[in-house]
Amino acid sequence: MLTLKKKILGVAVPGLSGAAAFFSVASVFIILGIIFIGGIGNISWEFVSQAPREGMTEGGIFPAIVGTFWRVLLMSLVGVPIGTITAIWMCEYAPQNSPITRIVRFAVNTLAGIPAIVFGLFGLGFFIQFCGVEMDKMFAPEGVIQWAQPNILWASLTMSILTLPVVIVSVEEAIRNVPQELREGSYALGATRLETVLRVVLPNAVTGILTGAILAVSRGAGEVAPILFTGAAYFLPHLPEGLTDQFMDLGYHIYIMTTQSADVDGTKGVLFATTLVLLTLTFALNLAAITLRYHLRKRMIQA
């Protein structure tokens, strides 16, 4: 009896888990395959260098590429320093396992688990309706709305909050990997804590900071929900020229073409091609992050 049960389990467990593994791998390849086959035919120099035409059935996605580029750049300029400073504080300054560090860690973990659309709503409520309105009261001429509307700044700031946990976790890992002996060597020479952080810890954590930045960019580049209400535009005749401009965006462009197109068949090829561009971008960024991290780990083992 027992042996029969064991026999059945002995076949069923590897069988089922193997099937599950196969299913996961297969779905990745099927998704990639469909997108690649559907999109590759439409990729051309014109496609990446021109604006959409004819109700998005013709032309390219240049403005969306530029918009995505600017928003992830702005996002990183804000998010990476804040995330790095938070990680430094958590690793080097805050007393370990004190209530305050636990609160910060809890906040970071919670932030990582909040659905993206909630960040979008937060951006709308906090940045546009609070910060924007207050800034208009201070800076804009009477009756003119300058900041209290969706724009690339608010979208990028919303995105930098969304990606903050990714940055913090990567930088923390890198900082914890800096050998304690190096810190002690620095202190023993009469360095203060700040000097040790700036001259020893940070230079040795640069790879981790870069990894964090890349992971944040690759996460942020593909998110649409946070920018829905905070800055992305359906179609713009010109590229964003300042912080108060709206922008076109790759992910949002896909969403628009899927849901709002008047000519579903006409946009299909462009839709696949846009998705392929976005996926390639995200993959390339992830690959860069993995490579960096691999080198970081290798260096750590050698040291």
Binding site: P95, Q96, P179, E181, L182, E184, G185, S186, Y187, A188, L189, G190, A191, T192, E195, R199, V200, N204, A303
Partner: protein
Amino acid sequence: MNNESAKIETRDLNLFYGTTQALKSVSLSVQEREVTALIGPSGCGKSTWLRCLNRMNEMIPGVSINGGVLLDGVDIYGKSVDAVEVRKRIGMIFQKSNPFPQSIFENIAYGMRLQGINKHADLHVIVERSLRRAALWDEVKDVLKKSALALSGGQQQRLCIARALAVEPSVLLMDEPASALDPLSTSKIEDLICELKESCTIVIVTHNMQQAARVSDKTAFFFEGELIEFGATDILFTAPTKRKTEDYITGRFG
């Protein structure tokens, strides 16, 4: 013991890691321009005592210290004393050599840059002098820009000594500086210690009793957080007064 000329001394020093006591009322004074060796079985508190002398222990969470540590007669744990200033006057060499992953030159320059010396010419003078004092100049003078990590283990440890010397400390603390090195590198470090004692007061932890006998003027024997015996090295090794010391140096335990 003549406390008047002590370079550095501890008085009734107690140290706790959380609730476990690692040092029990240790009173010990180190004379200027002598080499003092600390011996004793592993875990007896040698490193802990050494690290009290440049206030390195206080960065470990949960450590509490009481008693006095006097450098040139001044309590370095006094309210008006800054630990950073203490560490500039007392160099430290660690068991595992810990060069920064930078060039040889930048390693030596590190301490001086902290003190605001940034002119290359000034730095170069001190880098050369420090490397010469650490008997490393001839080996590295052509590769100062190369990574310090490319050096051999023994060279790295002498680099760390040079790095400490660059800030002109009057005391040098060494925690088993040669325990990870081959015999040739070890003897170079020992020769160096004998030269450096002309200009520095040296405290060295070692688990190697021959080494203690070779390099030190005085030896202190620690056991389970207590200072058991302290005296001139040749006397301590030939005619110890305490039973535990005798057991240890004759190899009956440890």
